[in-house]
């Protein structure tokens, strides 16, 4: 079957790739483009390890067809930090010890960034419900939620 040519923007950079019609965006990111920061935990959209943003919308990349990314803007964990250093969300995850094994962390950081763009001042409950699609089996979420709320405060210019 003929491959489909796709042009897309990933973390602000233009990418061209060829994909199969049924190939997931997750598979292209990881296997074709070497962006392995996005993790695969279930491939059914239930765990959130493959969270990315598509035109700013938080989605599990395992449920997006690679061909659907034509002309869209993709954000992955590799684009969260910048030349000036870590994003405050990343910094707060480190400071709060909000990760143990770390495999859910890229998805959680991308999801938290999406949350805080929408809602810069979430309550604990709002943060918990927004991140309910990102499974973590190690931490019990306590330190993750604290890191998220602290990151929000820091991004608002307050100290938590």
């Amino acid at each position: 079957m003929a491959k489909i040519q796709v042009q897309t923007t990933i973390n602000g950079e233009t990418f061209d790739y060829l994909c199969d019609g049924q190939q997931s965006l997750l598979s292209v990111l990881r296997d074709e483009l070497g962006l392995t920061g996005t993790k695969e935990g279930c491939s059914t959209g239930d765990c959130g390890a493959c969270s990315i943003t598509l035109d700013g919308q938080l989605v599990p990349s395992c449920l997006v067809l690679a061909a659907e990314a034509q002309g869209r803007e993709i954000g992955t964990v590799e684009g969260v930090s910048s030349a000036t250093g870590l994003h405050p969300i990343q910094q707060k995850f480190l400071e709060h010890a909000a990760l143990q094994c770390g495999v859910c962390t890229p998805g959680l950081i991308v999801a938290t960034r999406a949350l805080l763009l929408k809602n810069p001042n979430p309550t604990e409950a709002e943060a918990r419900y927004y991140l309910a699609g990102n499974l973590c089996r190690c931490t019990g979420y306590d330190k993750i939620i604290k890191a998220v709320l602290d990151a929000a405060a820091s991004m608002r210019g307050e100290s938590a």
């Binding site: 962006l35 935990g41 059914t44 990343q90 990102n134 089996r137």
Partner: protein
């Protein structure tokens, strides 16, 4: 926090007990860290596994010829490619493994024993080609009646999973073919007489469902083989040395030919202490003469990797009016899955370990059923046992109208008591944990309508085992510490903290590394709550050996005797005739090492036979919606003795994570099978692990009663936190609805049933 006298308690720590940012954190928040599925090699093939569609069947014929002719297919492997091996035990960390069973679990030989059991494997250029080829493999099955429950397995006319295999253990053992693989039993005192003298007795059956570890990273491996027989294995594992010996035994290979490199590990909880894919990938790679990658899907993880046992436990507990325990009797039935080897042994040892019970008896059965072969899961067996005993204790507390913490305090083990499983306890912190829970504000918080508070306690041995470590000094005075234990929850940070403490340098100047089986000394696996304890001891010893070198180098520089040099606060200080010399920092000495004897490096190894047990006490406040039966966790507290918390944040993290897993097991998680033995919920949507919105903040109290066996007083902390929650949560639900429940998970339908039963 309490901090009683004992070894290590008078030491003033500079770095131990602080909370530095973990050294591997940067790579993990940026997506740079490489997990099992993240490696790609040039020319790499993709492997897929054909799995049994039946829970119990004989393989009559297996034909791969059509599949071999499919596009892109480079190799196919079946059980015929594995060498035949005999039975016999092999040590594997905390557990014992039968190599023949291990191999037959990896690739079914003659019979499939659960839905999802591997039957054949294909390597092809793409994963789609490999999956398509799997569909073209024809297998002729003689389908047998599946044995799905303990009751079915024990029935008189039960189909037998392993024909001709006899039960082992403590007599009386069943005669002839049986699904009971092992029976253990023990007793102390006159149990029957003691029950007659008890004022109050409770007894009942306590059931817990099979549950999965639920690590977010599926099993994955990449294997390269060479013409000389060597195999390079990259995989997600808790124990690279364990993988090496298990691959060697299943393939009857010279272990010297195998090198195992552990990837970053995306969770394990015991589930990555065994192997599934690695020998298959070695055989595929050998046949195809190309690197082969194999990654499980989530469905494969659920269907074919180790959950932990579902259990039925009958327990009976008798007390005097004053609350003192007089007798206990227990019968434990453990699902082993398709092959022998449930954690029933550990369960029977932990069952009574937290209390002084003068007369007790237990019987434990390891029972095979047509479910996936169980693997270790965080304090294997102990949560099931504690669920029964700690629920019975709560029932007694209600009957006696005694505070549930006071009832435990009355019977709790302390230093000098003889544990139910044999040894005499050294310094332990159970009573301190109970008191801390009792004094915590949560214990006094008022409860509203439909709310209940549960108390539960837990015990776990922890293990020592073999570890080694190497510490080397760079010429800028920074240090590197290398061990062989994959970092599953922050252990790199605790190793670096240890080196920094000993050498007297900032923790940021220490780089902790996890090596492969050829670059570091032997380490038993990351499990048994042993890394910060045992590997930490090896790191302390290696650091001390480095200090000996540093003192000698300073003596060389000063032209004095080594005895005149002390290592104090990160520098060499002259004494006894050498005290005129200006102290030399580690950096000063490192700068001159080329002129004083060359590189500074030292190793050490340890093999502690014991570890110092962990005790925990949990509180859970739950509200039950009487209309829907849904339970909401309002507040949760974990109190546990850590001995000495090396990095308190990661100690708290273990407490919180173990509690969350236990809450999930108690309220939502269970394996569901249809009548043919097919798992009905092999995904995260239907196998319901806790998500962020299911839980409150999980409060922690880190009790520090120093462990006399460790120089800093450290106790392992990883496993104990999952022991109390099943009963703690269950007790909260039962108290909230005013009716005692005996079956986990306490899902809304079960809770509604219980409420309806109460109404009559």
């Amino acid at each position: 926090m309490s901090n009683q006298n004992g070894s290590g308690s008078d030491r003033k720590f500079k770095v131990v007990g602080t909370r530095p940012i973990r050294h591997d954190g940067l790579d993990k928040v940026t997506g740079r860290a490489n997990y099992g599925a993240d490696l790609a090699l040039p020319g790499m093939l993709q492997g897929a596994i054909l799995r049994s569609p039946h829970a119990h069947a004989r393989i009559k014929k297996l034909d791969v010829s059509k599949a071999l002719a499919m596009p892109g297919v480079k190799a196919i492997v079946t059980s015929a490619d594995f060498p035949e091996i005999g039975s016999g035990g092999m040590a594997a960390g905390e557990s014992h493994i039968d190599p023949k069973d291990l191999q037959a679990n990896i690739m079914a030989r003659g019979k499939v024993l659960y839905h999802g059991h591997a039957v054949a494997a294909v390597a092809a250029s793409t994963i789609e080609q490999a999956r398509e080829a799997c569909k073209m493999i024809t297998v002729d099955y003689e389908v047998l009646k599946p044995v799905m429950t303990l009751a079915q397995a024990l029935a008189k006319d039960a189909p037998i999973l392993h024909e001709g295999r006899k039960a082992v253990g403590v007599p009386p053992l069943p005669e002839g073919d049986t699904n009971i693989m092992m029976r253990l039993a023990n007793a102390k005192g006159d149990v029957d007489a003691a029950f007659k003298g008890a004022d109050v007795v409770v007894e009942g059956w306590y059931e817990a469902s099979m549950a999965h570890q639920g690590y977010i990273e599926p099993h994955a491996t990449v294997v390269t083989t060479r013409e000389n027989g060597q195999a390079e294995i990259w995989c997600s594992t808790q124990g690279p040395f364990a993988v090496k010996s298990m691959v060697a035994v299943t393939l009857q290979m010279d272990p010297n030919l195998i090198r195992v490199t552990p990837s970053e590990i995306g969770g394990g909880f015991g589930g990555k202490t065994t192997i599934y894919l690695e020998p298959v990938a070695v055989l595929l790679s050998r046949k195809a003469r190309r690197p082969v990658k194999m990654v499980m899907s989530r469905e494969e993880v659920f269907r074919a990797t180790g959950p932990t046992s579902g259990t039925r436990i009958w327990a009976k507990l008798g007390v005097k009016k004053d609350g003192s325990f007089v007798a206990a009797d227990t019968r434990m039935e453990f699902e082993a899955g398709g092959f022998a080897g449930s954690p029933m042994g550990a369960a029977s040892m932990t069952l009574y370990a937290a209390y002084n019970i003068p007369n007790f008896r237990f019987e434990g059965l390891d029972i095979v059923v047509n479910r996936p072969k169980v693997a270790a899961y965080r304090a294997p067996g102990a949560p099931n046992a504690a669920y029964a005993l700690e629920t019975a204790i709560d029932e007694l507390a209600q009957k006696l109208a005694i505070d549930p913490i006071d009832l435990r305090l009355k019977n709790a083990v302390k230093e000098g008591d003889v544990a139910s499983y044999g040894p005499k306890y050294d310094r332990i912190g159970f009573i301190e944990c109970l008191q801390a829970a009792k004094n915590h504000p949560q214990y006094k918080a008022p409860l509203g309508k439909n709310q209940g508070r549960g108390v539960g306690a837990g015990f776990w041995f922890n293990v020592g085992l073999q570890s080694s470590a190497t510490v080397s000094i760079n010429d800028d005075g920074s240090a590197v510490v290398r061990t062989g234990n994959p970092d599953i929850g922050g252990s790199r940070a605790s190793m670096a903290i240890t080196v920094a403490e000993e050498l007297g340098i900032p923790v940021e100047r220490v780089r902790p590394l996890v090596g492969d089986t050829d670059t570091v000394g032997y380490c038993d696996l990351t499990g048994g709550s042993r890394v910060t304890y045992a590997t930490g001891m090896a790191v302390i010893e290696a650091s001390k050996n480095v200090i000996e070198h540093l003192r000698a180098r300073a003596a060389t520089i000063w032209g004095c005797e080594v005895d005149a040099v002390e290592w104090r606060d990160g520098q060499a200080v002259g004494t006894n005739g050498a005290s005129n010399n200006k102290p030399l920092s580690l950096a000063d000495i490192a700068k001159q090492m080329a002129h004083t004897g060359g590189p500074i490096i030292a190793s050490a190894s340890v093999n502690p036979p014991a570890a110092g047990p962990g005790f925990g006490v949990h509180l859970c406040d739950i509200e039950v919606d009487p209309e829907t039966g849904r339970s909401t966790v309002l507040r949760y507290l974990v109190v546990q003795d850590a001995g000495k918390a090396v990095h308190p944040s990661y100690v708290e993290g273990q407490f919180q994570g173990g509690a969350a897993q236990g809450i999930g097991w108690a309220l939502w998680e269970e394996y569901l099978f249809d009548k043919d033995g097919k798992m009905e919920n092999p995904g995260f949507l239907d196998y319901r692990m806790p998500v962020a919105s299911d839980l409150p903040m999980i409060d922690t109290v880190v009790v520090e009663v120093p462990n006399p066996l460790h120089p800093y007083g450290v106790r392992g902390v990883g496993e104990t936190p999952i022991v109390p929650p099943l009963a703690t949560v269950g007790n909260a639900v039962s108290r909230a609805i005013g009716v005692r429940m005996h079956q986990l998970p306490m899902t809304p339908p079960r809770v509604l049933d219980a409420i309806e039963t109460k109404k009559g």
